[in-house]
């Protein structure tokens, strides 16, 4: 089964309180290499048939209408991920 992966991130100019909370926790565990953290969302849309252009177009539309709010978030990627053969 193939998947369409949609990545959504808070807009760069919008404060990301969750990312800030994670960033302030990292040094407590000794991770001092990271200057900042931003936290986004990854959606995995499962597709039973082949992923053609129509499916991708539908995924892009879903990404901008439901999966993200364009006022505060950007859709940074919509891509196909084939499940590796077992």
């Amino acid at each position: 089964m193939a998947r369409v992966i949609v990545d959504v991130m808070p807009k760069p100019e919008i404060l990301d309180p969750q990312g800030k909370a994670v960033a302030s926790a990292l040094p407590r565990l000794g991770f001092t290499q990271f200057a900042g953290v931003r936290q986004g969302k990854r959606f995995e849309l499962e597709v039973t048939g082949p992923v053609d252009e129509a499916v991708l177009a539908a995924a892009r539309e879903a990404a901008t209408t439901l999966l993200s709010n364009p006022v505060i978030e950007d859709v940074v990627a919509v891509r196909v991920e084939e499940e590796p053969a077992k």
């Binding site: 404060l15 006022v71 505060i72």
Partner: protein, 231 residues
């Protein structure tokens, strides 16, 4: 009698308080269900607070696509008075009937307290019974209450007088320009994070000059919409 609908989504918490506030103000409260496919001839609609659909995805994001919302959006564009309180405000920003959006409070904690606000626009369907600049105190309780809006849209809101309420005393969540509530261009759709429906009865409201829990500053919202519908 004026009929004011209050929508219940799965996860809504303050629908009963909103219905009670409507009755206290002298109107008939009409319970509406998220799956309703008609608005039962109401004269106005309130989207109450709570955690519709568990706040999954984003606060208000899934409620925005509930069947009843298609009717609310359509009617709001034709002038139906609509008030969004807290989660209801978040739903209205998701519909884009109201500008901006809400993200987590800047201090990342849930707050629950009494909050002083100034009423900056008294021309809306929900604020016409207040005096311009009047200060009111009503409860606020939320985690995702930080109002965000782009520079361009903020300038537009300021220029058009569409900022209806501003936080006074302190800014409880980091909201841009101390904004607690806004309206659409027509003034029939209003949203705010604090809760007027929790400040309508002496004995159960915020502390006031007249005594502890005597505050009824929220009543003006409901009196305003009744006046608006009657005129």
């Amino acid at each position: 009698m004026i009929r004011i609908g209050v929508i219940t989504f799965p996860g809504t918490l303050d629908d009963r308080d909103a219905l009670r506030a409507v009755r206290v103000a002298g109107a008939e409260g009409v319970p509406l269900w998220h799956a309703d496919k008609n608005l039962h001839q109401v004269d106005a609609v309130i989207l109450p607070g709570g955690f519709s659909y568990g706040d999954y995805l984003r606060a208000g994001a899934i409620a925005r696509f509930a069947p009843v919302m298609e009717l609310v959006i359509d009617q709001a564009k034709q002038g139906l008075p609509v008030l969004g309180i807290c989660n209801g405000f978040q739903v209205l920003t998701e519909t884009h009937l109201l500008p901006g959006s809400m993200i987590k409070n800047n201090h990342r904690t849930f707050i629950c307290r009494e909050q002083e606000l100034s009423v900056e626009n008294t021309a809306t369907a929900w604020t016409n019974q207040y005096a311009p600049g009047q200060h009111i105190t009503i409860p606020i309780k939320n985690q995702d209450g930080q109002f965000v809006v782009s520079d361009a849209q903020l300038a537009e809101l300021e220029a058009e007088g569409r900022i209806v309420f501003r936080y006074q005393g302190w800014n409880p969540n980091g909201s841009r320009a101390d904004i607690a509530g806004v309206t659409n261009q027509a003034g029939n759709v209003v949203g705010l994070m604090p809760h007027p429906e929790h400040a309508v009865e002496p004995g159960f409201g915020p502390d006031a000059a007249s005594g502890p829990r005597q505050g009824t500053d929220g009543l003006g919202f409901f009196a305003s919409v009744i006046k608006h519908v009657l005129t």
